[in-house]
Each structure stands twice: as C-alpha cells, then as structure tokens.
Symmetry: C2
Subunit: 400 residues, 2 copies
Amino acid sequence: MISEQYKSMLGGKSVIRELSEFAAARGKEIGYENVFDYSLGNPSVPVPHTFTDTLIKLLKEKDPMELHGYSPSLGIASVKEKIADSLNRRFSMNYKPEHIFPTSGAAAALAHAFRAVTAPGDEILTFAPFFPEYHPYVDLTGAKLKVVPADTNNFQINFAAMEELLTSKVTAVLINTPNNPTGVVYSEETLKKLACVLTEKAEQFGHDIFLISDEPYREIVFEEKKAPYVSQYYPNTIVCYSFSKSLSLPGERIGYVAVNPECREAETIVQMCGQISRGIGHNCPSSLIQLGVAEVLDETSDLQVYEVNRNLIYDCLIRLGFTCVKPDGTFYIFPKALEEDAKEFCKKALDYDLILVPGDSFGCPGYFRMAYCIETEKVMRSLIMLEKFVKEVYGVKESV
Amino acid sequence: MISEQYKSMLGGKSVIRELSEFAAARGKEIGYENVFDYSLGNPSVPVPHTFTDTLIKLLKEKDPMELHGYSPSLGIASVKEKIADSLNRRFSMNYKPEHIFPTSGAAAALAHAFRAVTAPGDEILTFAPFFPEYHPYVDLTGAKLKVVPADTNNFQINFAAMEELLTSKVTAVLINTPNNPTGVVYSEETLKKLACVLTEKAEQFGHDIFLISDEPYREIVFEEKKAPYVSQYYPNTIVCYSFSKSLSLPGERIGYVAVNPECREAETIVQMCGQISRGIGHNCPSSLIQLGVAEVLDETSDLQVYEVNRNLIYDCLIRLGFTCVKPDGTFYIFPKALEEDAKEFCKKALDYDLILVPGDSFGCPGYFRMAYCIETEKVMRSLIMLEKFVKEVYGVKESV
C-alpha cells in the first residue's frame, strides 16, 4: 500500500525550493540576469581544472572495468588513505583510512552518522538557525530533532537555552560551523565550552553524547582565517563533510564521514556505516568521482568572490540600517528583517525582484537569508535595488 | 550512544564477500589467474566507448558549474525523458519523465520502492533462491521479508507455496527476473499467473499489493531472446533498474525507479521518492554519470561472453552428472551440489581453487552459485579442475 507517511510529506514543499522556482519563472519573463536570486546555495565558481583533468585522464587511461568496477563497501582504499592524509596534514589529526567512510555528499554522511549513534526515540540537539533539511534528515531515522533557540547577538551557542534541552534522552548534538544560514564560525571558546558541557552531561547521564559536525563550508572562511577544527575539541566527534561547496561539485554527491580516532569505538562506527548503507541503499559514491576528488583534496575552487560579495552586502546592509552579524565564512548572510514578520518582508522584496529567504524555516523568525554565491556584478546591481526597496517601503535612512 | 542494532550486524559477514576475499588472498599466493573465482557478480566486459566518449566530451565542453551543479531532487529532466523514451521504444510502454526517478543503482531504487509502498510491520514476499542482500534491504525499513520456497524443478514461481504465505499483511511482492542466482527468466505464463494471483488477493484483502521488479539483468538474455517486460503484465509494478550489469558500471552507482504509468498514483509515488531521499540521504546519483548513461540507453556492453561461458559450464556440469536448470540469462548458474550440504561441497572445492558459493544464503540449501562473469579462457581451465575435483572427491561419471 502507498505509504501515508511519505505521501503526507508532499504538501510541505521547501520554502527555498519554492523561491528558487519563482526566481526561475520570473527569469523567463524579464531575463534571469535581472532577477536578484539569493535563494539557493549553489556555488558560482568552477571546480579546479585539476579535477576535470584527472577525470579525463582516468577515463582515457584506466582499464574501464577497474575504473567503473564495484568499490569496496567501505570505500576505495587509496581514496580513504588520501583523505586521512589530507586531514592530518591540514588539521594536525591522526586519522587512518579506517576512520574514513566516503559518502554521497553530506546528506548521506549525516544519514549514516545519525543511525550510527542514535536509536529511534533518542533526541538530537541542534542550534537555531539551522539548515531546514535537518528536520527530515533526523525525523525520518526515528530520532527526534530538538532545536536550541538562537543567540541572535552573535549566533554562537546559546548555552543557557541548551542546558534546558540537554536531557538524558539526548545522545547526539549536531552543529554546523561555518554556519548555514548565518555565515558565523564557532569560536574556539564556543567549542571548548560545548566540549565541556557535553563531557559533563555524558558523565552525569552515564552514556555517551556524540558530536556530529556538519562541515560542508569548512574551507570557506574569510580574511585568510581558518575555522577551528571541531574534532580537536571533543573526542566523540563525527565529521560529515561534502565537497559540494569547496570544490563546487554539488551535483556529483561526494563527501565523507570522518570519525575522530579518539572517538569511542571509532573504527567500529565506520564499519557500522557499511551496515547502515545496506538498509538505506547507499552503497558508496561513484568510483570515478571518488578517484577524482582524491587528487584535489588540498585544493578549492577560487573562493575569493564570496568574500568580495560578503563585504559589499554587509557594508550596504549596515549602511541601510539593518541589524546584522558579520559572516566569517560560507556564502550566506542572515540579517534582521525590517519588520517583525520576515515572511512579509521577503514577500514585499519580491516586487523588486529580490529573492530573499525568510528565517522561519531556519528556526529563527524575523531574520532572512541571502545566499550570495552569485556574480559580483549582479550583487552590485541588486544592492541598488535593495536600497530602492528599503527606501520606498520602509523609508529608513538615506543613502550616505 | 552507539547503535546496538547496527553494531550487532557486524558479525554477519556476507558469505559472497568472504569467499571473494579468500579468492583474492589465495590469488596472492598462487597468482590470481590460477584461482577459479566464481564468487562475485562483477562484470567482465568493458562499458561501451560511447559512454567514455560522452563523459570526456561533457568534461571538456560543458560549463562545469552546470555540469556539476545540483540536479533537481527528482533527477535531471533530460535524463528522465530519455530513459522514458528508451523504455517506451523497447518495451511498448507509455512512460513519461514523471514516472522515472534516477537512483544510485538498484540498491537505492529498492530502498525507495520499499518505503514508497510499505509501512513498518508490513510483509514483503520474495521467492527463493534470492539475492541475499534483500534481507537487510527490506528488514532495515521496518518491513519483513518473507521467502517463498523454491520450485527447484525449473526455478519459476512455486505458486502453491506462495499462496500459503500471501496473507493480508503482504503489501508488496519482490521479484528478480532474469534471476540471480539461477539465471532463469520468468516466463510469460509465470508473470500472467502472478498478476492473476496478486489481482485476486488485492481485491480479497481490500488493499493494493505492489509488484517490485528488480531488473538489473534485464538486458542479459541468451539466444537473442528477450525477457518479458514485467510491467506489461501487472499495473501496480515498480521497476528497479541498474546499469551496473548491462553497461558494466557497478562502481558508478546508477539506475532508476520506473513506475508503471498504469500504477495507482504513479506520479505521486515518484514524488514520494523525492521525500524518501531526504530521510535516507540519497539526493540523486552523480550528475555527470546521469548525463553519461543517458547517451547509451539502448546500448549494452558486449555481453556475448556470458553466453559462451554459460554454454561451456552448463554442458560440462551436465556431462559430469550435475542436476542443473539451464540459465536463460544473467551470468549465474545454480546447480545442485553433489552432496546434501552445499557448504561442505563448496568447502571441498576450495582445495581445487574453485570458488563456488553455497546456496544457503540464497534461501536454497543444497545448491551452489557460479558467477561466470570471467574470461572464457579461465572458464575452460576451471572446468578441467572441476572435473578433477568431482572425480577425485565424488568419483562420479567418467569424462565422455
């Protein structure tokens, strides 16, 4: 019989997708170059040439049966080894290939991590504002996602609110730094305090609390800074990584789980991922793509454009009187709307062909997200329109 | 906390994998060319050049942001259209792109199909002998796999045994034709009778019974025959396809779900697959690979070798006194062992470097599987060894 559970989900369309479809439709009317589409987090800079060249070389030179043959259920050994080496080199870790499990992007990595360290009925804590897909990702495992309200002052962790929700039912905590939608990077201080709280509570409850660190934006940090590497602060950390953003490969669905070598039963957790795959139909990412990214692990796309865009947008927002935390990385910014209902605000912005996403589905009403992975020239034109929108609708502050 | 459910699965290693690992280890001792490894269903003929050429062309010519960008959550529109057209052309169907959902191989296709038409607690019926992975595939959805005993006379469906197990708890029936491990193709007569039984029982129970048709071997049929196309016989049919075998691309994880246009709520089921993906972390197969296979939908690898191998092996088995149903397709054969315990039989064969898989894990004890996707020259050498084994251990029949 047709599953009522999944059928009933069909009504609840993603707000981001809806806005993105609106932008595409509007683009057909007035030319997409005139739609200031800040809806989707689709990278706007190409993958490094090395990746393309590697794939072409593999296709031309390697025995196709070997190239396209079954990969081992825990991933291609040489790829796992290269990922471990790259992480060790860049973040002073001690990963072995046995700690790495290649996945079809971060979504698949999270699907494995949740199942590895929670049971149905358990609670997973995350922090607002958060990527709205966390809800179906978690809820469909049988665990429950609980959301700690935001600290809107700086979008670090609201520890007071966290402690209220951190009951013994919580077996995993999910963080995302650099953060979608705020662009904020959790500070060393935040991560140390988080580790402290989790260690204390795990002892008090008599069971482990795993930290699941969703890190697709790890490499996109501005002003030549680096995001603190989460696993260095807490042993029971499981990294879920994706190359979608750093290498601009979202359609290729490639990422990995990296279990901290100091994590309890680290290697067992990776082996369990192989078992989880059997139930969720995962069975490894594409061999060709695994082998391709293995050659560009220390590279990224040319990410500079995101910093240029951030500066332009942030400066303009401040000038126009918005309240806004300055992003440290990613390609998102999360300002406060100019009226209480951010949905109304974003709706009015549509009249100016500004596609902004209200913060409600990120668990932070009253704010809105701009995904500024678009061309800088378009950003500049959009800011002229933003100023027009703000002046005409809200009448605040003149241009300086 | 670490999931006890998945941790407890770590003991139960796949027999096929174990034998394959044994073969690899033995290969290191005596040279892999001397190990007659019939364990794994890994294709032994290369993908058609068109596929490789298409990928190289895409990589060289297409805008990398478009090529590697997010694909829509229900798959790339042009790919879906081409798959529908190819199926319509070849099997006189009326698929539209809305009936097609690209997946990461057949495993992912099955993971979606099971969830779309069953709820936890429901029963899914399948037929022995069957691909052993069906157990974790089904059981981890919360549904239960029930196995109808084999009709060892011809490995068609044992309808008497089926009717005993077909209770109102059954909401889906899973078939695999051409079949792994027997190589048998279900006849038109079998499919018509199956459709008849399912229609009658669905009416009696007052609920739909869906037919999930796992078809990775659909194109590998011998003597220029075609396998009957299952969806033509029963409206509520969901095809789960993989290009792994027909195009020799198992590592690329590419396949699809094709819902019969005459199926109840066919388009809704495809949309539900998009929702199911959110829970299991699927989110589409690789864009590059989707676009690549779309150009070779009517092609296959050069599959002749499998027929040559079948003839050699079947003839030899019969000559040596084995009881064996002649395979119509795939690259498997499933003879009766020469002693009651096929595990013992296969164990003894190891002394002759013959790697055979006992039928127990396929739900059919007393038989064994040979995956003859290996070079013909090796098949010929292996048959000399098989004859030696049979004569020395069982002393039956002289060579004719």
